[in-house]
Amino acid sequence: MKRFLETGNFAITEGAILAGCRFFSGYPITPATELAEAMSLRLPQVGGVYLQAEDECAALHMCIGASLGGYKVMTATSGPGYILYADPLGWALGCETPLVVLNSGRVGPVSGITGAPGQGEFYLMRYPTQGGNFETICLAPNSAQECMAMVVEAFYLSERFRMPVLVLADQLITDGFEDISVPENEGEMKEMGFRVWPRKVCQGPEFYPYTDALDIPPVVLGHNTGAVCSDWTPTVEGYDIEEVDAHHKHAYRLIYKVRNHRDLFNQHYEKKFMDDDPDLVVVSYGSPSRVVNTAVIKARQQGLKVGALRLINIWPFPDEHFNRKTKYLAVELNWDGELVREVQRAAPKDSEVHFLGTCGDLPSTPDLIETFEKLLKNEPITRKGWVLEAW
């Protein structure tokens, strides 16, 4: 094991290489630029290829091309670039092409504030492209070390589900310097819980079987298997077809291969003080969860019966954590409330669901504890003229 004081971007690069990534194409964008830079330095050292693209749309299309040629591939961006992935991500979802996409959230809309963290793409991770009829897998780490782990995990899942797997971080996580341990061999990787799945090649002739089964090897071109893939609804063999019945079966696969195998990744969450039915459950993901954890520990020391639920697997949304009728507080890095809507949907009817938003900066521990106290006393939470209940 080697230890470094380095950025999340460094950790992601090392994780990707450990997972077998040998192709990265990206477009410079704050705060994901340093990841592209790290890849441009590291990939050639392990025989991999870094290509700078003319835009994000080309970056992900080049990644898909390389994945279709048999490479494990990755790209990374931030919000304004992530929307340009909509086109290729739809294709990759439909063609069931394994790849990993990392989005480092900043403050929006549009270019917003480039160098500050935001969480405005919670729903964009679930619905990253047009047309619907698919399920997505998204993992949201909250530290550099966990970024490495989740990128390795994303590569593993992308091969087994043969689909793009999305990793949602934010500016604090990718740009922040932290203590990082990098495993140096397979034994150490296993010790750290890193799972790796090799690229396999679908031999056909059924390239797009209508099944929810895992571990169907992806379509790889150039092996003369007669593989075809396209942006149209496929027949089982991959031919384009304009029939509702065929589309229904294809959509079943795209949705239920994920929904029916959530046990492969739904262990990715963290609970603190959740064993004694807390009166308030604070829900968060990504960098705000680090302050939430501190605030909940302090609140417990003050006798407040508060628990923390940190989601890492954010999509498909893990409804199973919200089966108890209690008070919920979603803490997010946006002012409009996104995670909170999903919590409200998943929580039992008549549960109280509250929202505390900040953007560009983390909430402070005293602010959080004050909010916990108010909610436990059934007082409204307001701050500086913002009606936080009005999300």
């Binding site: 192709f23 693209a53 749309c57 080049m62 898909i64 040629g69 086109d87 075809v228």
Partner: protein, 282 residues
Amino acid sequence: MDYRSSEITSTYLRSRKIPSTACSGCGLGMNHKIVVQAIKELGLDVADVVWGTSIGCAGRQTFATWKGDGFAGTHGRAYAIARGLRIALPPEKRIILTVGDGDAFGIGLMHLIHAARSNADMTVVVNDNLGYQSTGGQYGWTTPQGSRTDSSPYGMFEHNLMSEGMDVLEILKGAGATFLARHVAMDGAWAVETVKKAMLNKGFSLIHMPYPCPTNFASRELGSRNQVNIYRWIKAHAAPLGQEKEDTFWACGIWHDASNSRPEFHEYVHETVERIRRTGAL
């Protein structure tokens, strides 16, 4: 019914995709035949080629016709996809793209320019039916000026990439393409020779191939879906390079041949990566 009508189709094409789903009288089949004939004359096997297509008439009608591996990309992005694929595939595998004019010269032009810049080894055949015909017949970026289409009912009056002395191939030459040519679909064996030369260039090659669309283009511009009219009209407006007349839209032949004059993308990138891996520097 078995439509395997000739040796060339049974060797290289999937019987499932014959007959074509193209409209009656469409000229795309002539372009398609020219490309497959060139492959045959070069002595290539099905396994030697990965065939990519895109959106629109040309993309959809040629998708999965090739007996070997193939893909249909998103609209305008086949060139970026092919660059990624080029890196991953062994250099001896050939990539052929059959795309449309809207795909290559409209939505995909930037990606096309970057594919030319990088000199990625691929042969791009732009099947130009003079506009967006699969959506009903709107003008494109190489539609002859003055043409009446569904989106230019008064005649196409915008400047485009083939008007006033401009030529889309000029852009691609400036971007670094190493082989550029133009033929109309009726050029037959002459076009086959050109496509063969394009495929022998280890680098980025593009052939611009206008072909007749009786269903939409001809019905608006010529007022008739009679195939003979549009075939004659295209032939009348084409001439060999150097023999252009006043009403020539398409000067045919090899337009720019710098074959094998620049390092090819796959080889250059992999050689460079290997050097860095071994020595730690360029």
